[in-house]
Symmetry: C2
Subunit: 192 residues, 2 copies
DNA sequence: GGGTAACTACCTACTAGTAGGAAGATGACA
DNA sequence: TGTCATCTTCCTACTAGTAGGTAGTTACCC
């Protein structure tokens, strides 16, 4: 039993993931969940507010997910691998074939300010998480970093988003795994 | 003295780079170059045809550019670096802050088939070029590849596109250079 | 009765695309 | 050389459909 507001965000999320901010309309959501357009405006007065709320929810889910990954294993290599496996699964079964914020980041210049700042915040928090895990891994000698953990985190994050793009461009979900696993191999000490 | 058709494609390109396929209209182009909407339809009957022509032109320019890079230097490391420098400059001066095809790749699922196939073709040709340069570099011992040249090419290409995304998300053009240069460092033999 | 969530009905602005015409350039031919 | 037909380019004026958003109403629930 999910609330209507959540259903609206669910549909909006899958539509944004498919085509971005400008590729969905209130009418699309209306059709998808069997509710009138005006009713969506009741929950989210403007499109900008809807997407801002969506990004807030997404960020919250991501941060909770990352935290739970750290709870499941103390090994930084496992933590990073679990993060990548999450996306591998999402892309393979097409349940969430792209990161909402990566999608929106491409449209940054045309996004309402309230949305853009939230997207930027997600990038910051993800980079921070990756940096902390990489640093812990370096201290435990499971990772060998060529650069500082913040820089390596940026490289890894870019690889993940770029791999999503490539998987989509080539229409090959497995390409994502191939790219990110090759990238991880460059960080693992036993890979040298 | 550029033709009207070229001016239309120029404007369309910068609009697509800014926000993607759905973020521009014939009216936008009309306003930008001082020509009526109907006149644009005369040159490009439908939006799908316009963007398909645009991607064709883009691909042609890219392939010519890559070929000229190989003519300028026989050193594979220089060739890759020149390619990255090109984007560094484009992103720094905001003249072309994103790859047209990378932008469109994100919207793949919603693109007209004629456009999508052309975007895919660009990804194929870029991956092929990078793979050939990486392979030549491995043979000349300027690169050390952990994987086959095709796989390493995919990793590098993903890094480039992901770096564009990050630079945009953080609003920091220098981030692109930081990411791709760190990635290149992992391939150079003297970096080990 | 007040709040919430849904509805019908509507608005204005904009979307891609079309019909048909005016202006100028080009080339053929007597 | 004059003129006629054709082609290209751009125009005005229009269409049907969709965009995000609003006003006011009904129904239910605490």
């Amino acid at each position: 039993m999910t609330s209507t507001a959540d259903k609206i965000l669910d549909v909006a999320q899958s539509l944004i993931v498919a085509g971005g901010y400008n590729a969905f309309s209130y009418a699309d959501i209306s059709d998808a969940i069997g509710i009138r357009k005006a009713s969506i405006h009741h929950h989210f007065p403007t499109k900008a507010e809807l997407v801002a709320a969506l990004v807030d929810r997404y960020r919250q889910q991501v941060e909770a997910g990352l935290k739970s990954l750290q709870a499941q294993s103390a090994n930084p290599a496992d933590q990073v691998q679990s993060y990548l496996n999450f996306w591998q699964t999402c892309i393979r079964d097409a349940s969430l074939p792209f990161c909402v914020c990566a999608m929106l980041a491409g449209e940054m210049q045309m996004l309402p300010d309230d949305v853009a700042s939230r997207v930027r915040a997600h990038f910051h928090s993800l980079a921070k998480w990756l940096a902390s895990v990489l640093q812990a891994g370096a201290e435990q000698h499971v990772f060998r970093l060529d650069q500082g953990p913040e820089d390596e985190a940026q490289v890894l994050m870019a690889s993940v988003h770029g791999a999503m793009l490539s998987a989509r461009a080539f229409g090959d979900p497995e390409l994502f795994a191939a790219i990110v696993n090759a990238q991880i191999a460059k960080l693992l000490v036993q890979g040298r």
